[in-house]
Amino acid sequence: MAKVKYIAGKEPHAKEHRMIFKNVDREGWDVSLKTYEKEGGYKQLAKALKMEPKAVQDEVKAAGLRGRGGAGFPTGVKWGFVPPNNTKPVYLICNADESEPGTFKDRYIIHQDPHQLIEGLIISAYAVGAHLAYIYIREEFPEGAKILEAAIEEARKKKYIGKNVLGSGFELEVYVHRGAGAYICGEETGLIESLEGKRPYPRIKPPYFPAAMGLYLCPTIVNNVESLCHVKHIIDMGATAYGKLGTPRNTGTRILCVSGDVQRPGYYEIQVGKVTMGELINDMCGGMKKGRKLKAVIPGGSSSKILRADEKFTLKKGDKDVVIGLKDIPMDFDSLMACGSMAGSGGVIVLDDSRAISWVLNNLNTFYAHESCGQCTPCREGSAWMKKITDRIVSGNASPEDVDTLESVAYNIDGKTICAFGEACSWPTEAMVAKFRDELIGDTDGKNANRPVSKETQQAAKNLKTLNT
């Protein structure tokens, strides 16, 4: 294959391994089927259709592909959860509701290489036995939805989608469904409810595990955009070759979306675990802005726990414990987990010393308070409460006790909610209070402890003239 030429100024970094993003920012590339076919497009579909669906599943399982949406759950294992004696239709849903702050990888796949996603989707549908697939795309990607619609139409004309896919007898219909602008629709059961036309209230698990009782209470597999694209490459390379990319248990490549206070924020596709945090920030992103120092990193989307620049982490290497600093953390699922955070959705948010942690935390709390669906009590009330407290910290109206209350509220949410939003909204607070407690307390004033906060008490205080206002 000829060497891929990229648009000037958008060339990948030497440490990148472009596979999923091979065609992103590529010179002469467009979203048409013709262009995609020129590069061997839909060949992997033809190859997969010659395999047994079970064999495709096994290939993906053997490749060790882990979900790229956030949880990092093995995709092949997830597919295997469809009950073996199932008689209901199986649905495949592509989760294109990319809404975790700091994450912007799926949008490039959709906008610049839609057929890669569609091919991966069709292969995956074949593997799980789905004859109906939905691409649930967030409301904020209107152009992406149009591109996908057009791409599906092209693919249908070429018999990649339809009653008899490439003459194999396999039937598949694909629909694009647009969301209405809610973060919670990225949660798979919330997404399913939304797709059913209801409010996206996540379902309780048990009993509503999507693989058994998903869309319309039928078995449903929900996969992230990037995960589905990887399926195509696994079929292309074979599980063994694919498994050699990255590190053991953390195979393949993944796209890291770096934002924040670095010289060159952007997307970087790396082999999982082959690049460290330091290499990512200093080499690939060109280091910190001039005169600034690294303060902390949120390594896997806004909900992942923050890592301090001066923190020390203990990782297991073989039988030995190794103590490393932030810059030495390999960017893979297991290492980041061992460091007390997570690889999440690949959104790396870099903060320098100009950032006040109270401001950072308040920014995130505002987001989560706004996006909590409000179904279950701890998250509904807790996320808004945390925001109200950090609002006061930022505006200088908080007392040191408020920091303790803030932390305790976060722990009262964590692990007690219907869906993972509870963790998503409480982890930033838990980690930032634990790691930056002194700084947060520094933004408070003991005098505020007795100061009335609500309008009513302020008025009462004025009337009484006895309270300290």
């Binding site: 809610a182 409000g374 009590t377 509904r380 009262n412 309008k455």
Partner: protein, 577 residues
């Protein structure tokens, strides 16, 4: 109830479950919360309701749960001192409402983790709650108050401004909504969606700003709307009828049944000092599940009415107006008048709204007077596909059985004709208003030589009567009725009726004595005993034995549409029931 289930379905395997350190057995599939309830361990909850689906949204029922660890192949299970597998306790709590018990499961409702969960959820629920208990109708029977006292912090750490939400929202003709009090448990929404097929309620906005509301251009106006007030665990939904009328803790609660149609929904009547303030449904899985219709619920106001008859009255020797007399005078007068006629000149129209006991004493009176023309007034209306029956009389089955009527209402034409032709000269009307309810005219009744009426309220038939006797309403008497499915159910006396009112069985007894009949009956219980000795179907029964839930007495093929649907949902595991 759990015992019945066990007997009905012996095929369900039992599982061993440890609850707070003690081992119990439950049928597989039992919800954790129900298992705890069966062994008297309370799990606080808001959103869970056994008759509705379980969304698990309030998180109040979080408990610590554990299972024996999954064994590696070939490994021996680790046993505790009782020879049971050791439980591996999960770090994350689980909801007890939607999860079912499993073999060797452990549940801790008193552990630190469980307590912390409850404290946390309680605090969250109160963060934006207005805490306006002093002016809230729910106070005294509010789950927030109860659980807060038992599981809450005691004081709030919340210093910020509470969210503002709509208050005093008119969402239907009988219901008012206070969104600030709402804890978003969604019980009302689920009730409207699942139970009465009227999905008009829903949430709008999100997060902490979520508000309950009716859909645009819709009203919560269905005939079961007021059940949402009952199941609302807080004071968000209140009834316009009961709002600001009486503090709940001042009310006396009396278990009774609704007498507005043939269903006989089980009720609790709330009253204070001779005034009824509300009627609410009482659980009975053979009659009304946990619900009742709004019409029946509101049909108590006449009991408190200004138009109640309070004294016996007579009109003799062509007097224009009635005059109040003592009971003994009224009864003596009535008896003397009745004895002037031949048996064939007297007719009795009783009511299928009377209790079996009242009907039985009517039967005695009829026998003593040897009256042959006897009937009751029928009431047919529209039934629905839930609870309301087309028969608007609560005790048609009782009237048929006790009075021996073959076709209720079948004699009314003959009686009218008899009066017209002069064959019938005296008429005894018990608990009916013939002019308004049975196509009699004042002119026709004017042809009678003697007309006696008992009724709770002033009415045109009473106006035309020679003797008017004030009678007790359903709330003012003890006794039994038989509903359309043949179930014998009890009414309990809430309070003595106003003034000199008497129950009809007492009136009949006194008339029997006045015309020279027997004695020895002093209570509804005594009447029931007599009835048990005389009517085969009541053989061996006692009034006390009827109990709070009633007894199946007659075999019918009638089913309750609402219960049938609930049974289907129970079978599917959607609801507990």
């Amino acid at each position: 109830m759990s015992d019945d289930k066990k007997q009905d379905a012996p095929a369900v395997p039992m599982v061993n479950v440890q609850i707070d350190g003690e081992w119990h057995q439950f049928p597989k599939g039992t919800r954790m919360i129900e298992a705890c309830r069966q062994v008297q361990v309370e799990v606080p909850h808001y959103c869970y309701h056994p008759k509705l689906s379980s969304p698990g949204n309030c998180r109040m029922c979080l408990v610590e749960m554990g299972m024996p660890p999954r064994l590696a192949p070939g490994a021996e299970p680790e046993l505790d001192e009782n020879g049971r597998q050791k439980i591996g306790w999960m770090p994350r709590p689980v909801i007890a409402c939607a999860n079912t018990v499993a073999e060797n499961m452990g549940i801790r409702t008193d552990s630190e983790l469980t307590k912390a969960c409850r404290e946390g959820v309680m605090e969250f629920l109160l963060v934006n709650h207005p805490l306006d208990c002093p002016i809230c109708d729910q106070a005294g029977e509010c789950s927030l108050q109860e659980h807060s006292a038992e599981h809450g912090h005691g004081e709030s750490r919340f210093r910020d401004e509470k969210n503002k939400k709509p208050k005093n929202v008119n969402i239907g003709p009988r219901i008012r909504l206070d969104d600030e009090r709402c804890i978003m448990c969604s019980r009302c929404i689920r009730f409207c969606d699942e139970t009465v097929d009227d999905p008009v309620l829903g949430f709008t906005d999100r997060g902490s700003h979520t508000v309950l509301t009716v859909h645009p251009n819709q009203q919560l106006a269905n005939d079961y709307s007021m059940n949402t007030v009952d199941i609302c665990p807080v004071g968000a939904l209140t009834s316009n009828d009961f709002r600001f009328q009486m503090r709940t803790w001042f009310m006396k609660e009396t278990k009774s049944i609704c007498t507005s149609c043939g269903r006989g929904c089980n009720t609790t009547i709330g009253s204070r000092e001779g005034t009824i303030f509300r009627q609410t449904p009482r659980d009975n899985n053979d009659v009304n599940s946990a619900w009742m219709c709004d019409h029946g619920r509101m049909n108590y106001h006449y009991v408190n009415s200004e138009a109640r008859l309070t004294d016996p009255m007579i009109r003799e020797n062509g007097e224009e107006a009635h005059r109040v007399v003592s009971w003994s005078k009224a009864i003596r007068f009535a008896a003397d008048e009745l004895l002037k006629f031949n048996a064939s000149e007297v007719a009795v129209i009783a009511s299928a709204r009377m209790t079996n006991e009242e009907l039985f004493m009517t039967r005695r009176l009829i026998a003593d007077l040897s009256v042959e023309q006897v009937d009751v007034v029928t009431r047919r209306g529209k039934g629905d596909d839930y609870l309301v029956t087309a028969d608007k009389n609560p005790n048609t089955a009782g009237a048929k059985l006790v009075l021996g009527l073959k076709k209720p209402g079948g004699e009314l034409d003959a009686i009218r004709e008899g009066i017209e032709s002069g064959k019938i000269k005296a008429l005894v009307v018990l608990q009916e208003n013939l002019i308004d309810d049975a196509d009699f005219t004042s002119e026709l009744l004017g042809k009678l030589d003697f007309l006696l009426t008992t009724y709770p309220l002033a009415n045109p038939t009473a106006d035309d009567s020679h003797v008017v006797l004030p009678a007790a309403t359903f709330a003012e008497k003890d006794g039994t009725m038989i509903n359309v499915t043949g179930r014998l159910q009890r009414l309990n006396k809430v309070h003595q009726g106003p003034g000199q009112t008497m129950e009809v069985w007492e009136i009949c007894r006194d008339l029997i004595m006045a015309i020279g009949g027997g004695n020895g009956i002093y209570s509804a219980n005594d009447v029931f005993k007599e009835m048990a000795g005389e009517i085969k179907q009541f053989e061996g029964l006692t009034l006390a034995g009827v109990g709070e839930q009633g007894l199946p007495l007659l075999k019918t093929r009638n089913t309750v549409p609402m219960l049938e649907r609930e049974k289907e949902r129970i079978a599917k595991g959607e609801i507990v029931g």
